[in-house]
Point group: C2
């Protein structure tokens, strides 16, 4: 069997590895990868730029050479240029020449590409995207030129992480975003806590500002970011404006795309309408378990699971990807920020009748030196109290508590159920009522029963 994989990162290499492991010599896997790297952690890039991670090699989970040892034909420097799903052929350009790769099964893992709003100046020297290892390398070279002031465009996950990186590098760091609060994937009442926490930890925030232009100084390098409210001096600019699915090839081949622009697949990760084309990771839309709808949620966790599902299914298995609930976490220094399920705003958009609560507690027993503030927001259906979402902002140890809520809403538990769960308690690690349970307890009293 011939399998061609486009994209040598999480979904592609996981699928390829899974296939070789189960089918061995009965499958030939060719991976077309534009970059020189495979299987790297894009999520780790801000920490490399921050100086916490020593170099790009550390972010590479498995190199092309290591994959080749496992029998996978990895073609780095090969850019796929065309998919012909009728003829079952992928065309790619590598080392200048064009080449055709016939397949029995095709795996599409083309990932995401940074959003590029039409802002003049985003190509100026000193303005960096931070999505690929090569881009990160360029940004680190930019840091070597001794900038003093950094501006981060965008206050989402990447923006918050790049703000931490800027401060770690000793830069006077400002985050700009048109939203009123950072982390728009949280409700504003929780985003407000993120803003306060970031400011208390040394970041400057310019929220509610529209970026008009990035302008250069006399040396041709970036000098300032211009917003509708004025100029923010900048010696270096990082872009954290989010990503969109990278689907030019899929679109040109006529594969089905959704409203968010991602490839549409069934729950086996088979592209809708194509028996032998599979897709996963940042280039597809995923199903939200809570709403049954497609949404675009590019995360490494989903990509890895997609790869496993695809590898297993091409090898003759029947594994489903059960969908997502929208769990995510990040941190700004010791401030941890997490969410799962639906926000209140998302729920309102779906015309759901929700109740919510925000409780303020501590990450450990209040009398312990480890105790840090934590706020938990929990959201449930008014009728019956099924938990539909949670958000957490707090100190060290706060963030991963979102998993308690994530498993609870995955399993369809109500707020009253969550209040009764048997969770772990020890004074240095938790109050006797875990903050997630405190929220559930209050929430359960507001539910119509």
């Amino acid at each position: 069997m011939q399998v061609v994989v486009i994209g040598g990162d999480a979904v592609g290499m996981t699928a390829a590895s899974q296939l070789k492991r189960t089918m061995r010599d009965a499958v030939q896997v060719t991976v077309l990868q534009e970059q020189e790297w495979t299987s790297y952690s894009a999520c780790g890039i801000p920490y490399w730029i921050a100086g916490e991670v020593s170099g790009p090699e550390a972010l590479v989970a498995r190199s092309p050479a290591a994959h080749r040892v496992n029998g996978i034909d990895v073609r780095t420097g090969h850019r796929a240029t065309r998919i012909d799903p009728e003829a079952r052929v992928v065309t790619a350009v590598g080392s200048g020449a064009e080449q055709e790769f016939a397949y029995d099964h095709l795996v599409i893992g083309t990932g995401a590409t940074p959003r590029r709003p039409p802002i003049p100046g985003l190509d100026l020297p000193g303005v960096y995207r931070v999505q690929t290892l090569d881009e990160a390398k360029a940004a680190i070279a930019g840091l070597a030129q001794d900038p003093r002031r950094a501006v981060v465009l965008g206050a989402g996950y990447i923006g918050v992480e790049m703000a931490e990186a800027g401060i770690s590098r000793g830069l006077d760091t400002t985050v700009v975003d048109v939203a009123a609060e950072p982390m728009a994937s949280l409700d504003p009442d929780m985003g407000c806590l993120v803003r306060e926490g970031m400011i208390a930890r040394g970041a400057h925030l310019r929220m509610g500002q529209v970026v008009r232009e990035v302008v250069a100084g006399p040396d041709g390098r970036v000098r300032a970011v211009v917003t509708d409210e004025g100029e923010i001096p900048a010696d270096i600019v990082f872009l954290g404006l989010g990503v969109k699915p990278r689907t030019e090839l899929a679109r040109a081949a006529g594969l089905p795309l959704g409203e968010a622009g991602g490839i549409r697949t069934d729950d086996r990760q088979r592209v809708l309408g194509y028996a032998d084309v599979w897709a996963g990771g940042d280039c597809v839309e995923v199903t939200d378990r809570l709403t049954g709808r497609f949404r675009y949620l590019p995360l490494g966790t989903h990509a890895n699971k997609h790869g496993r599902v695809i590898g297993s299914n091409i090898a003759g298995g029947d594994m489903a990807f059960p969908g997502v609930v929208g769990t995510a976490v990040t941190r700004f220094q010791d401030l941890e920020i997490a969410r799962t399920g639906l926000t209140e705003a998302e729920g309102a958009g779906l015309d759901l009748d929700l109740v919510s609560v925000v409780v303020h507690s501590t990450t450990a027993a209040g009398y312990m030196p480890e105790a840090a503030p934590i706020a938990v927001k929990m959201i449930a259906e008014r009728d019956g109290g099924r938990v539909l979402g949670a958000q957490i902002v707090g100190g060290r140890g706060a963030g991963l508590r979102i998993d308690t809520a994530a498993v609870a809403l995955w399993s369809g538990l109500t707020a009253a159920d969550v209040a009764q769960l048997d969770l772990a308690y020890a004074p240095p690690l938790s109050p006797v009522w875990d903050p997630v349970q405190q929220a559930a307890r209050v929430l359960s009293s507001r539910v119509a029963s």
Copy 2:
């Protein structure tokens, strides 16, 4: 309505507070409490002794005076001596005099009492129990006498925590236990990791030794702990030998006790056979959701929930305590130790056909400075793969991951389900596959489907 509560700690004061909050002047609540404190955290005592918590006041969540402000008649220094369930009267001794308290409803929250094996010398000066605030105060006075060598009897939760406290106080600290590995509530393969971790962090462990005697020096104070393998010099000794339900009153009154010695109640926390007697916390047995059997699991989390359930039910509500799954966590310095559900050994005792796996991973992405080793053991039914237990030993951030497994097994998820859960990921906080999911993934491949 007259409600009498015996015991002014978690279950008693939670029930009392809940009652007053909902029924206000329609209820009179009298609490008989032997000690001068109410609502204190016994779990925090090792950290007070360690010097991390400043004083006993910090461990008191709500003082008798504060409870009185809320309208609860707290009688400290009152020791209940007899329950007459026919006449609905409790007799107590306070300030020398005997007094009778009539009730419409009785709440029993007498808690636990330390196990006292028949070892000579446990009453010597310099030997300390650490369950009550008064005992802790005595132990701290003992530390002021400048001991050099501490011996902790028992390597369970309290023993491990007291070993940390001894080392925090600069003492050369040895833990002795007859078990082969510390933390007998874990399987030995995980207990072994605890032992290695404790030794690496400066504790001495004498496992598999039977304590014969504690002996005094010429000054009459403790000098050594004598085991079947020799003498361990000791200037101070802490007892961490576990607890048993404190049920003398209940037994004398003819209330039903279980095999583990705890009071038996229904799921409303009503004592079996008594319409107006309620009990909870460390003096009762709880139902294990996984086996349907009663077991004795004295934990503050259950006591607080019991108090809420009892208060709600006496006030006319109908709240059930849904049972436990045996979740617990502790730490030894930065080594976190947790468990939930059944161990392999417990499962074998129940004739369950189980599969298990231990995976070794890291608490954060492997390339991050935050990454610490973590081992996760997961246990499932061979037939179908339902998760029945998990154990975790690892660095900072490891312990509370047990809650992911706890919610999963509470909800009846299989190992394959857990591998597909949508959990939080960020490089400083987790690998892209959470260690709990890594274990579930491997385990799911060993399950008969």
